[in-house]
Amino acid sequence: MSHSTTLTPTLEQRGFAAAPNYELLPKRGSSGDGELLEVSMGPHHPSTHGVFRMDVVLDGERVVKLKPVFGYLHRNHEKIAENTTYLASMPYTDRLDYFCSLTNNWAYALAVEKLVGLQVPERAEYIRVITAELTRLQNHACLIGFLLQDMGASGTPLMYAFREREKILDLFESLTGARMMCNYMRFGGCRCDLPPGWLAQTQQVVNETPRFLDEFERLLCENEILMARTQRVGALSRELAINTGITGPMLRAAGVNYDLRKVDHYGIYDRFEFKVPLGDHGDTYDRYMIRVLEMRESVKILRQALAAIPDGPIIDPKAKLRGFRPKAGEAYGRIEAPKGELGFYLISDGSPNPYRYRVRPPSFINLTVLEDLCLGHLIGDAVIILGSVDIVLGEVDR
């Protein structure tokens, strides 16, 4: 392998506790002769969810060292945004995490609203919650599908998830005109009002979702292969999760109660009743299960939001589309995206372009812990652990 990375220090040298369960696991899979094999996995390996590479050092089948290598999709999103106006970056945020363009839009709009001080009308807030929760539903469903695909359940769970996602993408299409690149939110509101009949259609999709979830859970949750491959694999401790800045379902699977919808109450999330599911062991099974449970909670939020959505304007009348020049200053806005905390940090110098535009990508930072999770496990498990981290390379590489 011609890659010129240096060997990295061990976890102990870096001052962290050893990977959990390393000693507990039976010493299977080691070649016993101490000879190490370096494998470059990716960037075109089907299990890496895009162009992502892992430089793995193996003792037999056991992972001794793992370095994620990425940047293959790097296009310097931040620099491009610094060279255009604030609004012109909005469609480009769709391309970060292309599964969840609507939550990306929301995070960016929220940061700009903080920077300028815009008030979002009630109806727009409800639309934002509805679209964000639909996004979360389809993201989690697809993630579980891909995770099972990585385990060898080729097709069926993924197709079940995609069948459900299709219905939600149809809703997005009729609302925004695009299935994935929605470009829907604006600073201080949304781009256009709901088309006639959209709420009824959404209500129907939401009503059908629990049946899908029941079916999905019956199919998977107590599946013996799934349990054998995921339980006690890649356990993440509470302390390491917090110190590493892990967010989203991965953090909650480790048992830390930190959901920005509850902590920040951004938008109107304080009006809805829902629970934050938490894991016990922080292993891959918990990360899988958290997503299953979060989909149920999303359905609850959707039901409440659809019942209470009021009429009214959908954008702050003070919001300017042309000649938009925020006063000098800075703001950091963040939301609970399906993959974790998605933040935007903006510095304005009073010109039409942001002086500094920064995306805090959740899956990029969640990858920091990948090596710690995989150490001591088999190479086949590394694939599943990566799948349970839930990365999208459009966001990791930016």
Binding site: K79, K114, V116, G117, G245, G329, A331, G343, L367
Partner: protein, 211 residues
Amino acid sequence: METLDQIKSRLTHALLGARLEIVPNESPSSQRSLLVDSEHARAVAQWLRDDPELCLDYCSNVTGVDWLEAVGKTKIKKTVVVDGVEKELEETVDSLRSGYLEAVYHLFSMAKKHGPVILRLRTENRTDKNHLPSLTPVWHGCEFQEREIFDLYGVVFDGHPDLRRILMWDGFKDHPMRKDYVEPDDYEYEPTPHDAVLEKAKKHQAQEAKP
């Protein structure tokens, strides 16, 4: 949560000699930040993380900012003797602010569910004195983000366990997020170039024609 002024006054008592300064923010977000000198940055970070009241255990966002050299205007009062009468005049003097690179840390608390407290570290200049202490030993989550700043801005983090490029490839020169970065003239050109791009393309093709 305590205000930034309270945090600053407690910090100055706890860590003698730390030079702290509050950076104002006039936007409606009113997120002010704390500028820390590089010598005491590690100690300040440790204190913020371990202080039982603040308990900033979670470093969310780490990012670089490039500030170029800029001309600041300051007004100075002068007494001038005009025709034998002393007069007080105001004069604007241009003062050159040297450029620097900045690392910004957004800290939150997962235990107490508050935040953000924003830390800023500044290098002395943009060329040779571009070192900052790494905060990765305090928050593991800074590891990749500090590597990204090193890659895109060229800030060298002392004490980082694995400081390499992360998004650009290893052989890449220069730091593309810097404000004065000029992209190399080797990209593929548009099929129908015009104006400035046409000029560039002509120059490029002439160079290519040479053996």
